[in-house]
Each structure stands twice: as structure tokens, then as C-alpha cells.
């Protein structure tokens, strides 16, 4: 076959009626098909989804106090419009000299999932579809291999004697892969160690979700649904204000509470005291004591993310290795040796220790 370059009818100045009709029909048909293809857009509610205000809103770090005030007002208005409650939306900034860490006592956790539901309520998470930041894994004894765990255990009572329970949420890593990969800096690590997300900046590429080794991030595949009565009116810009569809969210250590000295909702809900939270820069804080004295470990240490979420068991170090006990022993004049500690001569404890 050959190329046939044919100028359908419009060669020269001659435009026949037939070619005009033919072209007209083709153009009209094409337009109709295009309109039909675009027809789903009629279900869009442009007033709710888009506004100039939102379009020109700056990145969190570039907002002036006035810009922020405007954004908080807008969010409050939108929440009121949709959920019929007037929220108090604040922008909570990190405090100097604070670095938050979480410590979770695996000896105490009974797998009741009260933390999961407290988190959902506190953080205005979508009820349909369900979005939860905390995942409790039921682990068989004798392994820490997560692939052997059960995420969907249903028992009339917990705990089960043959299992232990491992809650996982955002580990607020000091070397967060999710922050590295974000193409638009919509997520970053704040000075107090909390990795936050600007829900008004996220473009929804979900690269952070792919990067996270702890499966901590959730994406709003559809518009989140929260019953009006369940809205938590105490809201933070970077934390629990309702999220739009198409953006990523995750645990933020309840920063709207913790940055003003309160405790995270999951901790308050825990019936066994397995959850500990605090400022690791304060040597007297409970978490500092735990990190010093307990057998603490982090999940997937080999991926190098340096989590601020620590797991531990109740048991202390063997006395010979306990750094605190060692200090005490040295100060009392004990001498370390191959067979254990030797008390100073004349010490009544000498017989005790050598046994």
C-alpha cells in the first residue's frame, strides 16, 4: 500500500457541501464523545473540593502567622459546614529541649486493642473505610518474625497464653525514609522528633507509603467518613483535623496533646500500663529510665531508621551487666572479676555475692 496524501475536499478553494457536512459530522461526533467521556465530572462538588484559598495556600513552613490564622479559620469553617460542629483548630509547634520517645512493654501488653480505638476517636480517623494507625500483631512465642504473626486475631478474651502481643505504629524514626522520598516536602521531621504531614500539601503519590518499613502510613483512597457525633473538636493543623481524600496520614504521637504536656490517647487508654511516653532529653523522665535500665530493642534495627519507638520486656539486665547496678557496685568499692563482683573486704555481703 502507498501513502495517499489526500486533502479531503478542501484542495484549492473548492469546499463542497458534502465534505463540509462530513467534516461537520466528524467534529460534532468527536465533541459529543468527549463530552460523554468527561460526564463523570458532573458529580464533582467544586465548592467543597477546590477553592482559590486552598489553591494558593503556602507550604506550612512558608506560612506567616497571618497565613496560618487564615488557614485555621478556613479549616474550622469547613469542619463546621460538613460536621455541624465548631472545632478549635490550633497550630502546635514543638518545644525546645524536647525529644519524644515511646516505650512499649511487651510483657504487659495483653492485645486488647483499646489503644487502636482510642486513637481512631482521638484523631478523627475515617470510620468508613476504617483507617487505623495502630496495628496489634499476635505473635507466637519463640519468634519476632512478623510474617508469623496474626493481624486479625479474634478471641473472646485476651491475652492468649501461647502468644504475646506487639502493637506497631509510626516509629517517628530519626532517619525517616518516608521524609527522604517525598517529592514535595509535604512530610518532615519536627524538632521534637515527630514526623508530621501537611495534609494540604501532600500530592498523594504514596512514595512514603512504599518507603516505610513499619507500614505506618495510610492513604485516603476515598473521602473519609466520620459520624458528626464522633468528631473530636480539639484539632491540630498537623495532626487530627479531618483529612481530605487523596492524601497520606499516620500517627503523630498526638502532637496536639503532647506538645502541651498531655499524654497520647493510646497511652491513656491502655489498661495495663504497657505504654510509656515522654521526653528522652529529660534524664528523670520515665522513658529515659526505661532506656537505661530495661532490655530495650527496636523493630528492624537493620534497616537503619533509628526509631523513637522502643519495645522492652519487664526483666532487668542480668545484674552483672546492669549499667546502673555497676555504677552502684563500683561506688561501694566492689571489684569486677571473672566469677562476679567481689565486695570490699569485711563487707557482710561478701558471702552472699560469692554464692
Amino acid at each position: 500500500m502507498n501513502i495517499r496524501i489526500h486533502e479531503g475536499g478542501s484542495a484549492g478553494a473548492e469546499v463542497t457541501r458534502r465534505s463540509f457536512l462530513r467534516t461537520g459530522t466528524a467534529v460534532a461526533g468527536g465533541m459529543a464523545a468527549l463530552a460523554a467521556a468527561l460526564s463523570p465530572l458532573k458529580d464533582l462538588n467544586p465548592a467543597e473540593e477546590f477553592s482559590i484559598e486552598k489553591f494558593i495556600q503556602k507550604h506550612y513552613k512558608e506560612m506567616t502567622p497571618d497565613d496560618m490564622k487564615g488557614a485555621l479559620d478556613r479549616i474550622a469553617r469547613e469542619v463546621e459546614h460538613r460536621y455541624k460542629v465548631r472545632p478549635e483548630v490550633r497550630d502546635m509547634r514543638p518545644k525546645a529541649g524536647v525529644e519524644f520517645v515511646y516505650a512499649l512493654n511487651l510483657s504487659r501488653c495483653i492485645g486488647c486493642r483499646k489503644c487502636v480505638y482510642a486513637c481512631v476517636e482521638e484523631n478523627n480517623q475515617s470510620r468508613a473505610p476504617e483507617i487505623q494507625y495502630i496495628r496489634v500483631i499476635e505473635m507466637p512465642r519463640g519468634t519476632l518474625d512478623l510474617e508469623k504473626g496474626n493481624h486479625h486475631y479474634e478471641r473472646p478474651t485476651v491475652p492468649d497464653a501461647d502468644h504475646f502481643y506487639m502493637p506497631v505504629q509510626c516509629h517517628q524514626c530519626a532517619n525517616p525514609p518516608c521524609v527522604k522520598v517525598c517529592p514535595v516536602e509535604a512530610t518532615w521531621q519536627d524538632d521534637d522528633g515527630i514526623t508530621v504531614i501537611d495534609y494540604d500539601w501532600c500530592i498523594g503519590c504514596r512514595y512514603c507509603e512504599a518507603a516505610c518499613p513499619y507500614w505506618a502510613r495510610r492513604f485516603n483512597f476515598v473521602k473519609p467518613e466520620i459520624p458528626e457525633a464522633d468528631i473530636n473538636k480539639d484539632m491540630g493543623y498537623l495532626s487530627n483535623r479531618p483529612r481530605p481524600k487523596g492524601v497520606v496520614e499516620k500517627c503523630h504521637f498526638c502532637l496536639h496533646r503532647t506538645r502541651e504536656g498531655r499524654l497520647p490517647a493510646c497511652l491513656e487508654a491502655c489498661p495495663t500500663g504497657a505504654r510509656k511516653f515522654g521526653n528522652v532529653l529529660d534524664p528523670k523522665s520515665e522513658v529515659s529510665q526505661i532506656l537505661k535500665t530495661k532490655r530495650v530493642f527496636v523493630l528492624k534495627e537493620e534497616v537503619g531508621t533509628l526509631p523513637r519507638f522502643f519495645y522492652y520486656f519487664d526483666e532487668r539486665y542480668p545484674r552483672s551487666l546492669d549499667p546502673e547496678a555497676k555504677q552502684v557496685a563500683l561506688s561501694l568499692g566492689y571489684t569486677p572479676g571473672a566469677g562476679g563482683w567481689t565486695p570490699p573486704a569485711g563487707d557482710p555481703a561478701r558471702a552472699e555475692v560469692s554464692r
Binding site: I5, E7, I203, C212, G246
Partner: protein, 421 residues
């Protein structure tokens, strides 16, 4: 000057609406599928990504899989550029333009696949305002793809326009760009691989062999598509495609596919002989895990197609056009599966917390994908359709596109006029 260029664009535009019955049918079909895709995308835009099969467990699916595939197709244009400009194989010089036109079309497809994967496409401009360069690999990808698009647009645009003006192209205006484009083509593959293999939380991707595997499989599938395209050009137009083009491309496909298998074997050995916890995703892909085996049939189909295609290419039978085309078609499908279903999806299964949640694309997702593919082929067809008359001298600045009457090797105009109706 600008006026002459606008005239050129206008003539190209007019020309794209002119052709044989087969051309109209092909363009009509592509338009219909493109519009179906647009329709499906509008639904996704209104209702959210929930209309896809993706979940928090498998958070990238068919779109990113196709993205990976088509970036590779674009890069493989370099495989034809190298013989021509580095090894001075002048006989193929015009064909380079077709390879670059294919690159242009496939980059457009790649970019569209990224855009439809965004949860908030309305915030695309945030990319311009806070560009996390050089830390985020995605920003490298944006630069590498758009840069490659511009390079190819410039090179083939310049060469085609020079032919239209009946001028010998000035080497300075395109040879340096060609050399940059060759290196750039490899770098697109490298950046594409780094997108995945830099993630420590995904052991399946956390492998240094991902980049070479991407290059090898792309350089097998890309030239395969070119072979098919050149065959269609050779048989449905009067443009003469030298037989040597097919043989050169065949050699490239052969070597690239052999290398691809070599790298696959290295990967499989490392995974399965070590047999550490990291093997879970590979086990899911090739054998199934805990009774879940959604990808097993796909990957073995892919590997079988690639293997049979490779065997055909190593036999003399592949000198016959029929066998060559069959082998190429098999490899295109094989690599498409291997790169999509085989590279992107299994990295998410099991999830980082050990859950096995499978993924299957929804109809809506398939429609969007088909729409983008059809649109890409539409662009490629138009580009080729206007380029051929320019290269063969039938369309030039002093010769507006000519109704077939004056052309000695064209049948009468009434036939083609009727065909166009």
C-alpha cells in the same frame, strides 16, 4: 521564519487527518479507547483512588507498573541511536528519527501514568514550589523524564524540520544533543531503578541488580516494538525500510534478552539459595506464599514468552519476517508482565508487617491504563504519519501536501477520498 514554522505545524496538523481506510480505522479505534480511558479517569478523579484495586498494603499497582515499562521503552531509543551516531551506520540514520518519535510518545505515556497515580493531581504545582531535589528520587525522575522528552523533541523536531526546509541539518545543532540523549537514556533507567532499590524497607527491591535488569529488559522490549512499528511502516506506506534495520534490531534484542535472563538468574540464585527471610516476596511471585499465588501464572507466562522468543531469535528462522515479528510480540508482552506485575507488585507482598494482601487491578484501572496506552499510540501514529512524507520529500516548505493525483505511485484520488469518508 516563525510564520514558516507555524505553516509547517499547520500542514502537519491537516495531514494527520488524512489517510487510508486502515489509517482511519486505526485512529478511530485509538480515539475510542483513549476516550474510554479519559472517562474512567474522570470517575477516579471524582471518587478517589478507591476505584482502583490498590490498598494500603499494595499502594502502587498497574499505573506504576506501566510507568516502569514505558520509561524503559523510551530509553531504548538509544539502542538505535548508538549504531548510527557512534558506529556511523548511515544506512539507518533516518530510522533513528522513528526511534526518537517512539521515545517521545512513550515518555508522554510515562508522565501520564505518574499523573493518574496521584491522589491529588490538583496539587501538581506543589512540585514546582517545594521540589525536594536532590533527596527524593522522584524529583530526579521528573527531571530525567522531562529532560529526555525535550532532548528527543528537539532532535527529531530539528531533523524533520530541516528535511521540510530541504536543508542539510547543521551538525552542531543536533549531534551534541544526540550524544547527551544517549547518556540521558541510560540515566532515565538508572533513576527509575533507584526509585525502587533505595528503599531498605522493601527487600525485594533492595537489590543492586534492579538497574541493570531494567536496562536489559527495556533494550529487549523497546527495539522489539520498533521492529513491529518499522514492519507496519514498511508494509503500509511507500517508505523504504532497509532490511539491515531489522537485522540490527534483531541483534540488539537478542543480546539484551540474553543479558536479561542472565541477570534474572543471578537474582534468583541470590534469593533462593540464601533462603533468608528476604525471599518471601520472590517466593510469592514465583511459587506463591501461604496458599496465595495471584502472580504465579503471570510471571511464568512472562518468562515462557521471553524464553521462547529468545530461542526463536537464536535460530535462523528469525530471519523470516513472520518468526521475527512473533518473537518480538512475545517479548513485548513478556517484558511488560515481568516489569509490571513482576517488579512492582511483589515488593508489597508480604507487607512490611508480614501480612499477605493480594492485588488485582479493577476494570476502571485497566480502562485508564488502556486509555493512556491508546493515547500514546495515537501520538506515535500521528508523528510517524506526518514524518514519512517529510522524509521522502513529498511534504516540504515549497510543496504543500499534495492530493495524491500528482503522485506517480499513488492510485487515483477518488479511491482514497472514498476511503476517507
Amino acid at each position: 521564519m516563525i510564520r514558516a514554522y507555524l505553516t509547517f505545524l499547520y500542514r502537519c496538523f491537516r495531514l494527520s487527518f488524512v489517510g487510508t481506510a486502515g489509517y482511519y480505522l486505526w485512529m478511530f479505534a485509538l480515539s475510542v479507547v483513549s476516550l474510554l480511558g479519559l472517562n474512567a479517569y474522570c470517575k477516579q478523579f471524582v471518587h478517589g483512588m478507591g476505584v482502583t484495586g490498590m490498598t494500603d498494603h499494595v499502594s502502587w499497582g498497574l499505573y506504576i507498573a506501566n510507568f516502569a515499562f514505558f520509561v524503559g521503552m523510551a530509553a531504548s531509543a538509544a539502542m538505535l541511536v548508538i549504531p548510527v551516531y557512534v558506529y556511523r551506520n548511515r544506512e539507518l540514520s533516518h530510522l533513528v528519527i522513528f526511534a526518537q518519535l517512539l521515545a517521545v510518545a512513550t515518555i508522554i505515556m510515562s508522565l501520564l501514568f505518574v499523573v493518574v497515580d496521584l491522589g491529588r493531581p490538583d496539587r501538581f504545582h506543589h512540585m514546582m514550589l517545594r521540589f525536594n531535589f536532590p533527596i527524593s528520587m522522584l524529583t530526579w525522575d521528573v527531571i530525567s523524564l522531562n529532560g529526555y522528552l525535550l532532548l528527543n523533541l528537539h532532535i527529531c523536531g530539528y531533523l524533520i524540520y530541516a528535511a521540510y526546509r530541504r536543508r542539510e541539518p547543521t551538525k552542531l545543532f543536533y549531534i551534541p544533543f544526540v550524544m547527551v540523549a544517549i547518556i540521558w537514556a541510560f540515566s532515565t533507567q538508572l533513576v527509575e531503578a533507584f526509585l525502587y532499590c533505595g528503599l531498605g524497607g522493601r527487600p525485594f527491591w533492595n537489590s543492586a541488580v534492579i538497574a541493570p535488569r531494567l536496562v536489559a529488559s527495556a533494550f529487549a522490549a523497546g527495539p522489539s516494538i520498533l521492529i513491529l512499528a518499522l514492519h507496519v511502516i514498511a508494509t503500509s506506506t511507500d517508505y523504504r525500510v532497509p532490511e539491515q534495520a531489522f537485522l540490527t534490531l534483531r541483534n540488539i534484542v537478542r543480546v539484551a534478552m540474553a543479558a536479561s535472563f542472565f541477570l534474572l538468574m543471578s537474582e534468583l540464585f541470590t534469593e533462593f539459595y540464601t533462603d533468608s527471610a528476604h525471599v518471601a516476596s520472590a517466593r510469592y511471585l514465583f511459587m506463591g506464599l501461604d496458599g496465595r499465588s495471584g502472580l504465579v501464572a503471570w510471571i511464568w507466562t512472562a518468562l515462557s514468552l521471553n524464553a521462547i522468543g529468545l530461542v526463536i531469535l537464536f535460530t535462523p528462522a528469525s530471519k523470516s519476517r513472520g518468526f521475527l515479528l512473533t518473537a518480538c510480540a512475545m517479548m513485548i508482552v513478556g517484558v511488560w508482565i515481568e516489569k509490571g506485575m513482576g517488579l512492582v507488585i511483589p515488593a508489597f507482598i508480604p507487607s512490611p508487617l508480614g501480612e499477605i494482601v493480594e492485588y488485582a487491578p479493577t476494570l476502571n484501572e485497566w480502562l485508564v491504563t488502556a486509555g493512556i496506552a491508546a493515547f500514546g499510540f495515537l501520538v506515535f501514529t500521528i508523528l510517524v504519519r506526518v514524518t514519512i512524507p517529510v522524509l521522502s520529500g513529498k511534504l516540504a516548505f515549497d510543496r504543500p501536501y499534495d492530493p495524491s493525483g500528482n503522485d506517480e505511485d499513488s492510485p487515483n484520488s477518488a479511491a482514497s477520498g472514498a476511503a476517507g469518508a
